[in-house]
């Protein structure tokens, strides 16, 4: 038998166990494998209380490497949240202050708990981190509850009222020491604006029920088209002023 296949088979056994462990959604998180691929999961998590993400419900994908659990899972957030870029891999990584690395005895559950705990920390310009203002984050948190996943449907239905299993001592220690950051190497300075554009488009595409959101003007100002419009208006005004000036 090919080593590759067998490496998968221990991972398959492990992921089946995890699927059973996580089969009941809780009030803080839920996660389940896709029907046709045990190595891709979707998760839902509640924004931590008393943070800029309070009230938010965030949805995303978990990609498991074939070497799982020897190598850590990658997480991709789909809901715009103002903390991490969406549609971009973020992974558990070693923090320089507490050198700590992925351990095979951690699981998808511990990765999610760590992600929730890490969300309110300062991104400090690390890869994939966004530094939106608290107001923007709160507004995204509010919108996030209406977000709909193509596979899983309305995300607010994916959490339950069951209390999550209390943290073990090991888990609470782990959560303190793990960090998350984007995976790919640094992009050039021009790239992030593309990324932000997508981010903004994603925000505008959201199925928000009320027609005019209070942030509509701000969103428009921040988008490229909005900025070009402003440039155009400024240019027109200056032409008019200049004409006045010279004709006088």
């Amino acid at each position: 038998m090919e080593p590759q296949y067998n490496s998968k088979s221990t991972a398959v056994k492990r992921l089946m166990r995890e699927a059973i462990e996580l089969s009941e959604p809780t009030d803080e998180y839920s996660a389940h494998p896709l029907e046709d691929n045990l190595f891709e999961w979707h998760f839902t998590m509640r924004g931590p209380q008393a943070s800029e993400f309070d009230g938010g419900i965030y949805h995303g994908r978990i990609l498991l490497p074939t070497e799982y659990p020897m190598k850590p899972p990658n997480i991709i957030l789909l809901t715009p949240n103002g903390r991490w870029e969406t549609n971009k891999k973020i992974c558990l990584s070693i923090s320089s202050h507490h050198p700590e690395t992925w351990q095979p005895s951690w699981s998808i559950r511990t990765a999610l708990l760590a992600l929730i705990a890490f969300m309110p920390t300062n991104g400090r310009g690390s890869l994939g981190a966004l530094e939106y203002t608290p107001e923007e984050r709160l507004s995204l948190a509010k919108k996030s509850r209406n977000w709909i996943c193509e596979c899983c449907g309305q995300v607010s239905n994916l959490l339950a009222n069951n209390k999550a299993k209390p943290l073990t001592k090991e888990e609470s220690e782990l959560i303190k020491s793990v960090t998350f950051k984007g995976e790919e190497a640094a992009e050039k300075v021009s790239k992030p604006s593309d990324q932000q554009k997508q981010e903004m488009e994603a925000i505008n595409e959201e199925p928000v029920v009320n027609n005019i959101s209070p942030n509509f003007l701000k969103d428009a100002l921040c988008s490229d088209i909005g900025m070009y419009l402003i440039y155009l208006i400024i240019a027109l005004i200056s032409i008019l002023v200049a004409r006045r000036f010279y004709s006088a």
Partner: protein
């Protein structure tokens, strides 16, 4: 375009360096895993000579080793080589020592509850233990080839390594009072276990060998091949004075398996 959503622009320079290093590590790892088996076939010790052709110190030591050992097996240098070499060499030894095998199996079965009481998460520990026992049960079948093939299947092989790492960590924590004196830097035994023992691909030091050989009560002799004056590769036994059943060769940063004459 300038707006207040800064992303990567403020990234400190040090981070970029780290990423380059991580990337380089990944490339090296890939090259190694493509070219070297997890556990290799038996080969003559003279095969080492080609690696040190211009090095009289090492050549003398290899010649001395050649008198004491009939052959060796190489292990993939992925940071798990001590645990993988130890496990394979010991399991092979157990195939020919039935009484000891029975003892070991009992010990291995009991180890699960001991580790859970030590504070390891039950759910993932059971997963490792079940697969570990599958491999242990293979010893009873007595087929050397099958054991060899299993150790070259990444999944099974790594699960054995993980479980031995947990046993080592459990032993260090159980005897923390003793082991704390051997830990470098300002960290507790528990921190050391989380940083240097439990994660995969972390290299092993004396302290790992002492803890594992003590936990399983298995004598390990390590032959150290370094640039020292001596004309032989000096032997260290762990735990000191116990009968040796596993022979390993150490070259700076790496362990392979030795077979005595």
């Amino acid at each position: 375009m300038d707006n207040n959503h800064e992303t990567t622009a403020t990234k400190p320079e040090g981070l970029e360096q780290d990423e380059l290093i991580i990337q380089q590590h990944r490339e090296i790892e890939k090259e190694i895993s493509d070219s070297i088996l997890l556990i290799g076939q038996k080969e003559e010790l003279t095969s080492l000579e080609t690696e040190y052709i211009n090095d009289p110190v090492y050549l003398t030591k290899i010649q001395d080793l050649n008198k004491k050992y009939k052959c060796m097996r190489r292990a993939r240098p992925d940071g798990n080589c001590f645990f993988r070499s130890f496990a394979f060499a010991y399991f092979e030894y157990l195939m020919d020592h039935n009484e000891e095998y029975k003892h070991f199996k009992e010990r291995a079965l009991k180890s699960k509850d001991e580790l859970i009481s030590c504070g390891f998460t039950q759910f993932t520990l059971e997963d490792f233990h079940d697969t570990f026992m599958e491999v242990v049960n293979l010893i009873g079948e007595g087929q050397h080839e099958k054991l060899y093939d299993t150790f070259n299947m990444q999944g099974y092989s790594d699960y054995v390594v993980v479980y031995l790492r947990l046993i080592t960590s459990g032993q260090l924590q159980k005897d923390a009072e003793f082991y704390k004196h051997f830990i470098e830097g300002d960290r507790t035994v528990v921190e050391f276990c989380h940083q240097e023992v439990e994660p995969m691909f972390k290299e092993s030091d004396h302290i790992h060998i002492i803890a594992l050989s003590t936990a399983l009560n298995v004598g390990v002799r390590v032959r150290y091949m370094d640039r020292g004056e001596s004309s032989e590769a000096i032997a260290h036994d762990f735990p000191e004075g116990s009968p040796v059943c596993v022979h390993l060769l150490y070259r700076p940063g790496h362990y392979d398996i030795l077979y005595s004459r």
